[in-house]
């Protein structure tokens, strides 16, 4: 089975291409230039294998939570490929992919930088999620997380001083979601037949009420 995985939930964009021979993972960009780099990166790596998009059987895409500017590039690319190729598509959670990248016997919180002073976080025991995905400040997460837990992800790294001051351990090895791991996750969950394309939308988590404060009339006075 030939699978393409697309990862754009953080400032690092990456892809993985998998066939029966194995999986190869490539970083597309590190600095949020996902719009310019993602599609050329996919095309290059398919070409290197002498594949075309038509050789793909499944597209796996990280639907977040994560950066708005990244997810809208990755999810819309994945959706348009799937629609154009009539190929199966499946979404994965950034926090679940991250959790799969650490030692499975650890109690862990996956933590992704949400910017604007917040993180996305979810608690895992073994391969089970034991909380909903949350959006909260690093301080609030620190209060919630017990001292038996390990924090992973770029959000854990960014706020390592906050967490350290609260006596929490940050695992510095697991930083951003790996698209190769996303493929493993999909296989382990036997989701390789795909999901309804319409259900593949970015998970932003932030409350749209936060944008209600818009002053329509101000610009027409004076």
């Amino acid at each position: 089975m030939n699978i393409l995985a697309i990862e754009t939930a953080t400032s690092v964009a990456a892809i993985a291409i998998s066939s029966d021979e194995g999986t190869e993972e490539v970083e597309a960009s590190r600095d949020m230039h996902h719009v310019e780099t993602l599609v050329p990166c996919i095309q290059d790596h398919l070409r290197q294998r002498s594949w075309t998009m038509r050789d793909l059987d499944l597209i796996v895409v990280d639907i977040g939570p994560g950066l708005f500017t990244g997810l809208r590039v990755g999810v819309s690319a994945a959706r348009s490929f799937a629609a154009a190729l009539d190929c199966a598509i499946v979404g994965v959670s950034s926090l679940e992919v991250l959790a799969r990248q650490r030692r499975q016997d650890e109690d862990c919180w996956s933590v992704i930088d949400a910017r604007r002073g917040e993180v996305f976080a979810q608690h895992f025991l073994g391969d089970q999620a034991v909380s909903d995905p949350l959006v909260l400040t690093p301080e609030a997460l620190g209060q919630l997380a017990g001292d038996q837990t390990v924090l992973i992800g770029d959000g854990a790294q960014r706020y390592r001083d906050v967490f350290a001051s609260m006596g929490l351990v940050v695992n510095e090895d697991v930083v951003t979601p790996s698209p190769a791991c996303a493929i493993e996750l999909i296989k382990a969950r036997q989701l390789t037949t795909g999901q309804d394309l319409r259900s593949i939308v970015p998970m932003y988590l932030r409350d749209p009420d936060a944008v209600a404060n818009f002053h329509v009339l101000d610009r027409f006075k004076s």
Binding site: S11, D31, F68, T69, P208, V211, N213, F214, S222
Partner: protein, 163 residues
């Protein structure tokens, strides 16, 4: 505390913008308020000069958001320039993701930023421009809402224009 300054020509407003650049750090959003033609773009042009932007800076009235490569000693690699005049909803402004983008080594100058300040990130400096006594006089009030840039540093950098 609000710092109130006066400029007497468009060049002075550009110079003031350029000086303001010298106290900025990555992640800061300048929320600029003030009526049509008061001088917001002029100040943005000065800011761009101070940040080492080489291209031409004009109001992104139709594209809403422009991105310019910056080159300076303050670690600011991008100047974002937004104009919310034509936006019609908070969602539309939120879609620009200014609060998120600015944390990638950028600063952002937002004309008409007072229309939706809540979605413009956590580190904000408010700048309000208004007409002064003479035709070419502008009163520029600056208030920092972030600890990332000290009020004292702004006052010092812009001291030449205090009223």
């Amino acid at each position: 505390m609000t710092l109130t300054l006066t400029t007497h020509s468009v060049e002075e407003t550009r110079d003031l913008g350029s000086q303001l650049a010298s106290v900025l750090v990555p992640g800061v959003v300048i929320v600029a308020a003030g009526g049509l033609g008061v001088g917001k773009t002029a100040m943005a042009q000065g800011l761009a000069r101070g940040l080492g932007v080489t291209g031409r800076v004009t109001s992104p009235t139709f594209t809403l958001l422009a991105s310019h490569r910056a080159n300076n000693s303050r670690g600011i690699t991008t100047m974002l320039h937004a104009d919310l005049y034509r936006t019609v909803s908070g969602e539309e402004v939120d879609d620009l993701a200014i609060g998120e983008l600015v944390e990638s080594g950028a600063v952002c100058f937002v004309e008409w930023g007072d229309l939706a300040p809540d979605v413009l990130g956590a580190q904000r400096i408010f700048v309000s421009l208004s007409q002064g006594e003479l035709d070419d006089d502008r009163i520029i009030a600056i208030e920092t809402q972030t600890t990332a840039v000290a009020e004292g540093a702004i006052a010092e950098a812009l001291g030449g224009w205090s009223s």
